[in-house]
Symmetry: C2
Subunit: 715 residues, 2 copies
């Protein structure tokens, strides 16, 4: 069909093309745009229109009904969210074959103009709702990769509307809203419909720089708002990836420094292994890779060359490292081998991403160690877990409960997994905060990586020992958990030990009437205090920015969570004191200047301790001893953790999850599952009455219980 005949038939439908441009053959949006920008007959301003064809999952025997999506080139289409919206399962981008079959076109020639009375009824068509009333011009492929017709959004819509029938309605979808929804919303149980709730959540009379959404009402909205406004992160134009701005990255650096010093004492060495894994190596350990393969990102092309075999970006480094462990470990004298690396890993999750908690790329450390004996491996697993506990409790003031994971929840391919479990009271959900795995000999076995040494204790000299291995990791999730636990409706609240500014000093009481001399005296005092505090190890800063009111500065630093504010005005100077304001409690108290180098460090310690104590009290108050099944779901609905005597059988865990999900109130489809899973079996069982073997029964199934186990909803 020539471009002229297409134009003619459009005119016949009372749709007037604004321009018709022939150009060189183009094979990508970029080259298409370039060709049009170089064409003198093209309009000065336009947007590219994209047409995507997806194939939903259908029975093999059924004829597929493709989904055709018409959107602005710049609009990201999240197939998962669209599928849910339209009730289509497992959307996959259609192959070239599919395009040929349905439209006799390739993707560089495809446009809504390929929909006609023959093709339209065979597909489902969805159009970006932002296009339908737009008078802006869109570049539309004239069923050719070398010809373009320019139509307004309205005209594209009119064209499709002419094809619509009772059986095949044109779907109008707000892709941007879907995307935002996917990114930021987690709906609370019992909540009213989203739209209404959003409005409720707005804080009345909140000034522009405040958070604007209440933590208790719209937690997910509050969370991302706090992160953005405190300059912890920013969204990024690749979905599921986020920018870690200095305000959050500096927290990660504090954790790195602290942890590096500790593991160095344990003689762990830092190293760096490549981020790429060949598919062959990645697939070596089947249980292990099964846990990751749906999320692996594959590099298939370099420059313009296809790679001979696709190469994976590491989702974790067991299979990257262990072939070399096999090479390096030649004798028991090479043991233990203890390496750690700080790196980025990629898990291309299709679930809702959430900054810090679930992101497609994230930063972490991963330790990988090998020992001659299980006893040594066991000891290290617990030593590392203890370090992780200290990172959370001592640095981040976030309480956690150490324990062991159930068989179902352990690391794929490992022997057992220990964990520290955190808890977000606002949502009543548990969160896995850090894990230390014993891999046993699962990766060292001959059919896996074959890592062995001659047994030094075998007198015949013939015996082999397959090494005992651990792996352990802590990620930037730490930061997200800290924000969720401590943040409030004024914004972030930072524990002093991880705050890159612990004390902000703000000059106050300066008015138009204040003499230059007095103004200078106040500013100088602020600067002097800041220096003195730094000299005793306090991270202090004087905010002497011109052109901002003290009130603005107060809000600004409160939002960013600085633990302590010192205000200095003329009256304070006269009295040789400063007004201190705690971020965590809002408590105000005058502090004598003379004593500041002692009182401020002490106050910071108090803030740190108080923040932890409050959070721990809350966590512990939400642990409910549950011995009757009928109390489980009400406990969850009460935003609590059900601690139950449990049989520790996998079937029982599956059953608990399913029964508790079924019994719970209906959830928004974007919310995490409402079912309970085992969070951990706490090491410290002394909080609960002793389990009597043969007498104490599993709350869920009535079989003999083994240990008290925490069950709850989780992230």
């Amino acid at each position: 069909m020539s471009v002229e005949s297409i134009a003619q038939s459009l005119t016949g439908l009372s749709i007037q093309p604004q321009a018709i441009v022939s150009h060189s053959t183009t094979n990508s949006p970029a080259s298409w745009r370039e060709a049009l920008e170089g064409a003198s007959s093209a309009p000065k301003s336009f947007e590219l229109l994209k047409t995507l064809v997806y194939k939903p999952k259908t029975a093999k025997t059924a004829t597929p009904v493709p989904l055709v999506i018409i959107a602005r080139e710049g609009t990201e289409v999240i197939s998962g969210a669209v599928g849910k919206k339209l009730g289509l399962k497992e959307l996959r981008l259609g192959s070239e074959d599919l395009l040929t079959e349905f439209f006799s076109l390739d993707k560089n020639s495809l446009s809504p103009l390929a929909l006609n009375e023959q093709t339209y009824p065979k597909v489902v068509t969805a159009i970006d709702s932002s296009i339908i009333s737009s008078t802006a011009l869109f570049a539309v492929r004239a069923l050719s990769s070398s010809a373009t017709i320019f139509l307004s959004g309205k005209d594209i819509y009119a064209y499709l509307k002419l094809l619509e029938t009772q059986e095949a309605l044109l779907q109008e979808v707000d892709f941007e809203a879907l995307k935002v929804g996917a990114d930021t919303l987690t709906v609370q149980p019992k909540a009213a419909p989203v739209k209404e709730k959003k409005e409720d959540a707005k804080i009345e009379g909140a000034i522009q720089i405040a958070i604007g959404i209440k933590k208790e009402v719209d937690f997910a909205g509050w969370y991302t708002n706090v992160l953005i406004k405190a300059e912890m992160m920013d969204y990024y134009n690749v979905s599921g990836c986020y920018i870690l701005r200095p305000w959050s990255y500096s927290i990660w650096e504090v954790i790195q420094d602290w942890f590096n010093a500790r593991i160095r004492e344990m003689e762990v060495q830092n190293a760096y292994f490549p981020m790429f894994v060949s598919s062959k190596v990645l697939e070596r350990e089947k249980d292990h890779i099964e846990g990751f393969s749906p999320e692996v990102a594959w590099v298939t092309r370099a420059g313009n060359s296809d790679l001979e075999e696709p190469i994976a970006v590491r989702p974790t480094s067991e299979t990257v490292m262990y072939p070399y462990y096999a090479k390096w470990i030649k004798s028991h004298r090479d043991l233990p081998l203890k390496l750690n690396q700080w790196n980025n890993v990629v898990r291309w999750e299709f679930k809702n991403p959430q900054p810090f908690l679930r992101t497609r790329e994230f930063l972490w450390q991963e330790g990988h160690t090998a020992f001659l004996t299980k006893a040594e491996a066991d000891t290290e697993v617990r030593e590392i877990l203890e370090l992780y506990r200290q990172v959370y409790e001592d640095l981040l003031a976030v309480p956690v409960i150490p324990g062991i994971k159930s068989e179902k929840e352990k690391f794929a391919g490992g022997l057992y997994t220990t964990t520290i479990e955190g808890f977000v009271p606002t949502t009543g959900r548990g969160i896995q905060a850090g894990t230390s795995h014993c891999l046993g000999q699962n990766f060292s076995r001959p059919e896996m990586f074959n890592i062995f040494v001659e047994d030094p204790n075998d007198p015949t000299g013939q015996g082999k020992v397959y090494v005992w291995q651990n792996s352990w990791g802590l990620s930037t999730r730490t930061i997200g958990v800290m924000v969720m636990i401590h943040g409030d409706n004024q914004g972030l609240v930072l524990p002093p030990r991880v705050a890159s500014i612990q004390v902000i000093i703000v000059p106050c009481g300066i008015t138009a009437k204040t003499s230059d001399e007095s103004r200078k005296a106040i500013n100088d005092k602020c600067e002097e205090l800041s220096k003195s505090l730094k000299s005793v190890g306090v991270k202090a800063k004087a905010d002497l920015r011109e052109g901002y009111t003290p009130g603005f500065k107060f809000n600004d630093w409160e939002q960013k969570g600085v633990p302590l504010r010192l205000e200095i005005g003329p009256a304070d100077l006269a009295k040789q004191q400063t007004l201190s304001v705690r971020r965590d409690t809002g408590t105000k108290a005058p502090l004598p200047l003379a004593d500041l180098m002692a009182s401020v460090p002490k106050l910071l310690d108090t803030i740190q301790a108080d923040m932890f104590k409050r959070a721990q009290d809350t966590y512990f108050s939400r642990l409910r001893e549950v011995t009757r099944w009928e109390d489980v779901v009400p406990t969850l609905e009460d935003k609590c953790v059900a601690v139950m005597p449990w049989c520790e059988e996998e079937a029982c865990e599956d059953d608990i999850k399913e029964r508790s999900a079924r019994a719970a109130e209906p959830q928004d489809e974007r919310a995490p599952s409402a079912g309970a899973k085992s969070l951990c079996i706490p090491f410290d069982q002394s909080k609960w009455p002793p389990i009597e073997p043969g007498k104490t029964k599993c709350t869920a199934c009535g079989k003999d219980a083994k240990r008290w186990t925490m069950f709850g909803r989780s992230y």
Copy 2:
């Protein structure tokens, strides 16, 4: 064709299949292997045979002649090297269409059995030379994805030999050797053919753990050997990627700590941006991306889903970051913005990779800053360059010359590039050691990232200022340069300031006759010294390993480059002294134990200073003032840098490169170019006679010279 009829025709050719196995349909090497391992009729031990089809570049009108490669599944086929070997240009993996066209098969059914009297003459066939005499069994696709025939390597070869004709010879290629060649060899000018040279390079009588290759004879072989034996790195099974082992990574950590402290003083903040870039954003700056696009790695698939658009792995982060700079910089009060990140980047080079110097993934820091004025940007460019100089000269004891790059050699898309240029005397090649770029307003311009603020100095309030930007980076290349400069035929030589062990203490003189008491006294003394030295800030270690001789330990630590060895035996103890041995010079001297806490730190400082001085003297001795063109090539052949009065015109630089390459001796094709390029225009011109404007002429073209410029071969 059924599997039985294939087997029959093979038998007719006197080729006896060892087994014939039917199995479920398989669509990858992994699933094929799995199916065979699960089949009871398959042999216990076998290798998969892979058959790859490549399409060389041919004129559009010509019929393509595909290249069929038959290799072991585990053998990596580097298409670039194979192409060179066979004289075929730009090999690309053939499409499914091509396979269908030539063999009516898909890639999961293809095998050498698809070659017959019809197909063989239409293609070029190359077989892995390691297969042709092998009696091992190979799994060969029986022209089906669900049937496999097992043949010995010899039989596969025999089969193909029967098809060979005078016009279509069977090519036998050693793919492993090609790969090793590509990985490790750089041939010296004037060198004898590779094989002979390799033998010369072996050091006579060298014991097993020594380096074994002479630095002066086979530099590239020596370099990788030192790196492996000193446990600096290991090869990795993805070509062009290497493992940084703790011995090298710890050097990187020293550099990180030092540099972080310095840039913090400059108020640069660390942050982390995602590693993925959308193609749209990546392609925004055309000059810039032109420099990188042939090397960009593309993620096109996640799990089993194709991505809607391929996503690039960052080769550098200008285009990742600057859209957000545009967002964050709203007022001149947001300036300067100074961010830095420590991260991995990927440049999928097809040139010979070389550990640390040219690798597909590498670690670096990249700083990105924005200023209101050019003056501020200019100042920072030089401040950072000075820090880079200090990293090399003060930490790594590697002399560099700071200067500016020519227009041809500057950073793509930037305004100007400053550099510190290193020099490897053994090869006479310059090496770019670190660069600090002023980007000018090239990235902030409205048609690029549109980063501007209202001009605070414009009284009308209408003026806009597009920000002035810099970017600067230093990579793990630092480590490679250090190894090349300081290493010797005993192995690595580490400058004390970056050595993770500065002093190794080795107990000596212990024989079978030594009493337990005396043995203990010596060992205890070693341990005690190590502790005392640590207490004065010296990184000391006592090597008390059992079962190794002192000689073994000496070699071991020499190879790893530990700057100072202290030996302690019974005689030393009696005299209350220790024998010190310097790694850099081999100088031995007794040191009184009483004085050690003062003498050792001093000696380490001396070693550091001496290493730098020696290297700098050598570098400077290789800078030759060249004012006659006929002296240029002899200067290069003498492994020197030609410092010439230069006109600074790009055409002249092109000309110099070409003329000097033509005049030089023929090089092995794998060696870096023999032509000279401009290394830098040194800031300090005072080493050479003043350029007299209008009088001093360019050595190369005779036009007016502007500045003395270093020209040389380079990495």
